[in-house]
Amino acid sequence: MIELLEAVDELEFIEGCCLMQADQVLSSTFPQARRHHETIARKAFGYVFQNAAKLRSTHDEAHLEIGEKRVSGFLLENKQILICLSSKRTNIVNVRNNVRELYSGLQQQAQLA
């Protein structure tokens, strides 16, 4: 899923992203000045997706608006979570559609390979 992280990071409105699994960061492009956002997002999304799984819910996407920023979390296969940082003023629909589109494209490529 590193390819997804790289592709998402290319999006103009994404200021940084991070791939995590079981609270471990697999890869991150978060700018140094935004490391606190990354930490908060990891805790928040880890917690909420864990709760969702316990309650047998299939929620797999979360968005937290804090200060001037928005962190978005996407639950991927193998319980990996992709976290993206964007400005709160960026259209949230743009963020989710672009990430979902890239993810689905990569999944299709993987199936063909």
């Binding site: 908060i40 309650l55 797999d60 979360a62 804090i66």
Partner: protein
């Protein structure tokens, strides 16, 4: 005869119908109906299709005034109007209610909705209700809009006052219609004014006129796409809730606990506005946070997140106004 068109849009209660009535020389065509959803907290009737009025600017120029319905659920009318009736309009006048919790959120919402339409025409932002709440003031608007990359005209108007609304018209067509007698027009339209005379009412009359209060939860579930709501206080404890599904209730509570913990431990990052949880097969769960209250919402998975945000903002504002 030159025919000009102007389209008025903005949130519910921003003054679109009033502005058109202030200017129109004909009996305006309005398609209002008794409100049936959360708007009930702000007004008894709302526009469901469109408003239309006409103003003779001079012997050689006529202005057609169109107003969109404010409620998001009638947005199909916005598209219809943009692509047909007002496809050749001179300008879009965005009426912004200054008493709204965050007027700039409204501006962002409408500019986004009308983005393509605005490529070919002017945008004028007309701020209303500044007599009730004077801030944000003109300078604040200009600075904030500049920050948003919106370089546009901002005017503070009273939609009930024809002379004030006429200034917006002059701003849009004044350069091309140099023969218009603006002062004479304002005088001619003075009878359209609905600015009330100052009358002191005894307290008991004022209070007896107050509408029967409706709870935030009732208002929320009467909003399109909202299936359940949870109202929380400043301490983030549940004040009332009608979330039926145990799963959604438990998840919403987990989200509120998280928000509450972050408010204490990550305050240095800024205020938390919202936390949303979505899934392809699940209803969307959201928590919208204000200092004095918070609102948890369960909404249809097909409802756009920007719409949910807008609805939550409306509901929280009305709840605050009612307190």
């Amino acid at each position: 005869m030159a025919d000009y068109k102007m389209l008025f849009t903005g949130s519910v209660c921003s003054g679109k119908t009033t502005a058109i009535r202030s200017l129109s020389e004909i009996e305006t065509v309005d398609t209002d109906a008794k409100v049936s959803d959360s708007v009930i907290r702000r007004k008894q009737r709302t526009t469901i299709a469109m408003d239309y009025g006409v103003l003779e600017l001079s012997d050689t120029a006529k202005l057609h005034l169109y107003g969109t319905p404010g409620q998001e659920r009638f947005r199909f009318m916005w598209q219809l109007m943009m692509s047909d009736l007002v496809a050749d309009a001179e300008a879009l006048v965005l009426l912004v209610d200054n008493t709204r919790n965050d007027p700039f959120k409204d501006i962002r919402f409408y500019v986004e909705e009308f983005r393509d339409y605005l490529v070919k025409r002017r945008l004028v932002i007309a701020v209303t209700h500044s007599d009730v709440r004077p801030n944000p003031d003109y300078n604040y608007y200009m600075n904030e809009l500049k920050r948003m990359g919106l370089f546009t005209t901002v005017m503070f108007i009273d939609a009930r006052d024809p002379a004030a609304v006429l200034k917006v018209v002059k701003e849009v067509v004044g350069r091309r219609e140099k023969e218009v007698d603006w002062a004479g027009l304002a005088e001619k339209l003075a009878d359209n004014s609905t600015v009330p005379e100052a009358v002191a009412l005894p307290d008991e009359i004022v209070s007896s006129e107050a509408a029967k209060p409706i709870s935030l939860i009732d208002a929320a579930v009467n909003t399109r796409g909202i299936t359940g709501a949870m109202h929380l206080g400043a301490d983030r404890k549940v004040l009332s809730s009608n979330v039926a599904s145990m799963q959604s209730q438990a998840l919403l509570k987990a989200m509120v606990n998280l928000v509450s913990a972050l408010e204490q431990k990550a305050a240095f990052l800024g205020k938390i506005d919202s936390f949303m949880l979505c899934g392809e097969e699940q209803e969307t769960l959201s928590v919208f946070v204000e200092e004095e209250q918070a609102l948890g919402l369960c909404s249809d998975k097909g409802l756009s997140l920007t719409v949910v945000e807008q609805q939550a903002s409306d509901l929280l504002q009305w709840s605050r106004d009612n307190d």
